[in-house]
Symmetry: C2
Subunit: 471 residues, 2 copies
C-alpha cells in the first residue's frame, strides 16, 4: 500500500531564495529542539496524557461503534442526522465528504441501502427548518454529540428534536436518539439514561478537535458504510511512520517544523488548498485544528505571546480564479499546502473534436490531467515568485489514506504546539463569549452582565431610507 | 424600506484602545484624501471608465435576461447548469444560496416549477461525473459563462457537454445551450453563432468579479424565480446612498477607509463572518472581490508594494467553535466584519420543558434569539479583548437588500483600490500559472517551458510502505 507523503522542496531557500525560504542551516538549528519536543510528546503519551494518539488501537470502541451502526442499519432508518458543532461536526463532515462523495445523499444506488447523512452544525433556523421539512421523523435517527452535554447550540437542537419526537412517538421516542457524550457526567448523559437512548462514550482526555477517531466521528462514518477499520489502520500506519525524533524521518515533525519556521519568518497565514472538492471538508477540519490549537495568548510559561497562524481554506482550481492573484502578488505572509490526489474515482475525457485552434491543446486530455497541469502550473508560478509552498500527496481518497492524513495533521498540531511553546489542548479564549451569550439569554446570576451588554452593544438597527445609514 | 447599514463603533479607539483601534484623529487625517478618491471615481465613472457602477440602470439587459429566462421556463427544463469559474460562478452562487435557500433543489414545492440550479465551478471529475449522473441531458439547459471564451476550465466543461448533447440530440443540440460571453470576440461567441445557441452579452469593460449584476449573475437568478429587478433596485438605492465624498455620509467610502487604516495598523486579515448560513455564498464572493482586486505587486505609479489584505470567510455561530479562539487570543492581525440579518425566513422555538436546570435559561427562546445572543456575546468579547470588528446589518435576506449589499461591496472595493494606490481592476499575477498549465498540456510554442517544468517540479509520487516518506 502506498503511503501519503510530504514534498517540501518549494519551501526551501534553494528554490525560493533566502528571504522567504527556509535554509538548510535553519533546519539544522532547529533539529535538536524538534527532537526534544518529540521526545517530550512520547513521554507524555506513555504517561497516558495524550490518549488521542492511541485511538487507532482502541478495538473496544471500534467494536461498539460497529455494533451501534449495525443496529441503525437493521432498523432501516432513511436518515441519520448528526447534531453537533465544531469538533463534534467537522470530523464527520470531513469523512463524509471525502469518502461518501458528492452523490451519496442524492442517489440511492450510491448509498447502497444506508441512510442519508445530514450534519447540522448550526442553529440557523432556516437550515434547521430545512432539515425538518426534508426528513420523516419516524424514520430518522438523531446522533446528538456533545462532550459536556451543555454545548448550547447542540442542546438547543436536541431539545427541539426531543420535543418533536416525543409528540410523534410517545414514550418510546428514545429509540430515535443516540447520545455521544461523556461516559459519566453531564445533562445529556443523564437524560439519555432516563429516557433510554443508545449511548456512546467520548473517551476521557480527548478534546473535541482531536475526536474524529472516537465515536464522535466514527459512528456517522460506519452508518454510511465507510470502512472505519481501514481508517483506523491508516491512522495507525501514520503513527508508525512518525516514530523518529529526526525531522528527516518523521513527516509530522518535519511539517510542524516547516510551518513554525515559516510563521517566524512572517508567514502568518497557512493556506490549505486541496485539488479535489472531496477534500474540502478535510481542509475545514484542519482549519479548526490548527486555529484553535495554536491561537493562544499565553505560553506554557505564562508569558503573553499572542501566537497563532491563521489557517485559510482554498480550493483548486476554483480559487486560482479568486485567491491566486493575492497569493502571487500580495504580501509575503503565506505558506501554502497543496493537498493532491493520485487518482480520482471518475475519469472524464475532453473530446478530441475541438472546434477552435486556440483550444486545440486541450484535445483528448482528461479532466484529471487538466487538474494536474493547473496544479503544477500554479505551484511552479508561486515558487518562481518566491512564495513558499509544500505538497501532501494522497495516492487516492480511501478510508486508509484519509486515516493517515487526519492522524498526520493531529500529530503535527500537537508537535507545533510544543515548538510554539503553547498548550495546544485548551481553548480559554472562547469562554467570555459563551458567558455573554448566557447572560443575554437570561441565565441566573448574570443579570448585571446582561444589563452592561445591552447598554454597550445592543444597538437598535432601525435606519430608514433617507436617514443616515452609517452609524 | 429599511436599508442595510454599517456600524463601526467597535473598530474605534474609544472602544478598543489606541493600539488597535482607529482614532478620530486618524479618521480626520484621511478624510480629505478619501474625498479626493471618491471624486476621482466619480470622474472616471462619468467618463465611462467604470461601467459596473451603472449596471443597476441598464433596463435593456434586464429585459433581455428576463426574456431568455422566460423562454427557459416555458420549455420546461428540469435542470439549469451554470458552467463557469471564479467571477462567472461566485455571483451566481451568492444569489442562489441567499435568495433560493437551502431547500430549493431538494423540494419541488420550494422551486414552484422552476428548474433545479447547479453551479459547477470546478473541473474535478468526481463532481462533474456526479452532475452527469444527476441530470437528464435532454431536459437540461447549460449556461456557459466565459468573457474571453477561452477560460480553460469552462471550455473543457463546455466541450464535454457539447459532445454529449450532440450525440444525444443531433444537430438541434444548441437549444440546450446558452452562452454568456463577449458580445463580439472569442471562441465561444463564434461557436455559439455557428451552432445557434441563445447568447447573452457581458457588457464591455466589466471584469469578471464585478459582473454579478450582468447576465453573468442574473440569468440563473431569473430562471430560479429571483426578482432581479428588485436586486437591481437595491443596487441603485445603495448607489444613491453613496453619493457623498464625506466619509460620514457614504458607507462604501467609510468602510473602505476603515479597512485601509486597519490594514496599515497591521490588521492584514479581513474576516467576513455572516450569522446566517444563507450568506455564506456572499462571503465567498466578497473573498474573491477583495483578494483579487487589492492583492497587487505594483502601485499605479509602478512602485513595488506587494499590498493586499487577505479575506477569510467564517460563519457564525459555527466558527465560534473553530476560529474564535484564534481571533480572541492570537496575533492582532485581523479586522472582523459581522454580517447579520434582522429576520430569518423560519422561526423555531426551543420548548419550555427543559429537563436540566443548567439549561433552564434556554427555555422558550427561539433559535433566532439564540443566534443573536451568541453573535452579540462574541462581538462584545472580541471588543473587550481589543479586537476590531464592525457590523453590516441587513433587515432581511431579500433580493433588494442583497442587491444593496453586493453594490456596497463592489463600490467599497473600487474605493479601497484608490486608497491603497493600486489598480483594483486587473489581475496580472494569474497569467504565469495559466501559461504553465497550457505548456504542460502541450500548447504549441511552449515546448521549452514544458520541459523545464517537468524537470523541476514534476516529481514522481511513488513512495512505498517502508520507504522514506518525507521527500
Amino acid at each position: 500500500m502506498q503511503n501519503i507523503h510530504l514534498d517540501f522542496d518549494n519551501v526551501m531557500a534553494e528554490r525560493i531564495g533566502e528571504e522567504h525560504g527556509i535554509t538548510r542551516a535553519e533546519l539544522g538549528d532547529i533539529r535538536e529542539r524538534a527532537a526534544k519536543c518529540f521526545q517530550n510528546l512520547v513521554k507524555e503519551r506513555s504517561g497516558g496524557l495524550l490518549p488521542f494518539l492511541d485511538l487507532p488501537y482502541d478495538k473496544h470502541t471500534t467494536a461498539r461503534v460497529s455494533e451501534v451502526a449495525n443496529d441503525v442499519k437493521k432498523r432501516d432508518f432513511s436518515d441519520f442526522v448528526v447534531l453537533g458543532i465544531g469538533g463534534s461536526a467537522l470530523g464527520n463532515i470531513a469523512l463524509h465528504m471525502a469518502l461518501n462523495g458528492p452523490l451519496y445523499n442524492e442517489l440511492s444506488e450510491v448509498r447502497k441501502g444506508c441512510p442519508r447523512i445530514h450534519i447540522i452544525d448550526t442553529i440557523d433556523p432556516d437550515i434547521f427548518n430545512g432539515l425538518l421539512r426534508l426528513i420523516n421523523l419516524e424514520k430518522t435517527v438523531f446522533n446528538v454529540i456533545s462532550k459536556s452535554g451543555t454545548t448550547v447550540e447542540t442542546v438547543a437542537q436536541f431539545l427541539i428534536v426531543r420535543d418533536l419526537l416525543r409528540k410523534k412517538l410517545g414514550n418510546g421516542y428514545g429509540k430515535n436518539l443516540i447520545a455521544t457524550t461523556d461516559p459519566v457526567d453531564g445533562a445529556l448523559r443523564r437524560i439519555a439514561g432516563e429516557d433510554n437512548y443508545t449511548t456512546l462514550d467520548i473517551p476521557e482526555g480527548v478534546g473535541g478537535r482531536f475526536s474524529v477517531l472516537t465515536p464522535v466521528g466514527l459512528l456517522s462514518a460506519a452508518v454510511s458504510g465507510i470502512d472505519i477499520e481501514a481508517a483506523l489502520a491508516g491512522a495507525a500506519s501514520m503513527d508508525r511512520l512518525c516514530q523518529s525524533d529526526d525531522i528527516r524521518q518523521n513527516p509530522a515533525l518535519m511539517n510542524a517544523v516547516l510551518q513554525c519556521i515559516s510563521y517566524n519568518k512572517g508567514k502568518q497565514i497557512s493556506v490549505m488548498m486541496p485539488y479535489s472538492s472531496r477534500l474540502k471538508g478535510v481542509a475545514e477540519w484542519y482549519c479548526q485544528l490548527w486555529a484553535e490549537s495554536l491561537g493562544k495568548k499565553l505560553s506554557v510559561d505564562g508569558e503573553v505571546v499572542h501566537c497563532g497562524p491563521t489557517p485559510v481554506r482554498a480550493l483548486g482550481p476554483t480559487d486560482q480564479h479568486s485567491q491566486l492573484q493575492l497569493y502571487m502578488e500580495g504580501p509575503f505572509d503565506k505558506v501554502i499546502t497543496f493537498l493532491i490526489v493520485g487518482r480520482f474515482e471518475s475519469s472524464i475525457k475532453i473530446p478530441s473534436d475541438v472546434p477552435d485552434k486556440n483550444l486545440a491543446h486541450l484535445s483528448g486530455h482528461s479532466l484529471e490531467e487538466l487538474m494536474e497541469a493547473e496544479r503544477l502550473g500554479t505551484q511552479a508560478a508561486l515558487t518562481e515568485n518566491g512564495r513558499p509552498n509544500c505538497t501532501i500527496y494522497l495516492p487516492e481518497i480511501s478510508a486508509f489514506h484519509i486515516g493517515q492524513l487526519l492522524y498526520l495533521f493531529e500529530l503535527q498540531t500537537a508537535l507545533a504546539g510544543k515548538l510554539f511553546g503553547i498548550n495546544p489542548f485548551d481553548q480559554p479564549g472562547v469562554e467570555a463569549g459563551k458567558l455573554n451569550a448566557n447572560a443575554l439569554l437570561g441565565k441566573k446570576g448574570l443579570e448585571g452582565r446582561k444589563k452592561e451588554l445591552e447598554q454597550f452593544y445592543g444597538r437598535r438597527h432601525d435606519c430608514k431610507e433617507g436617514e443616515e445609514n452609517v452609524i
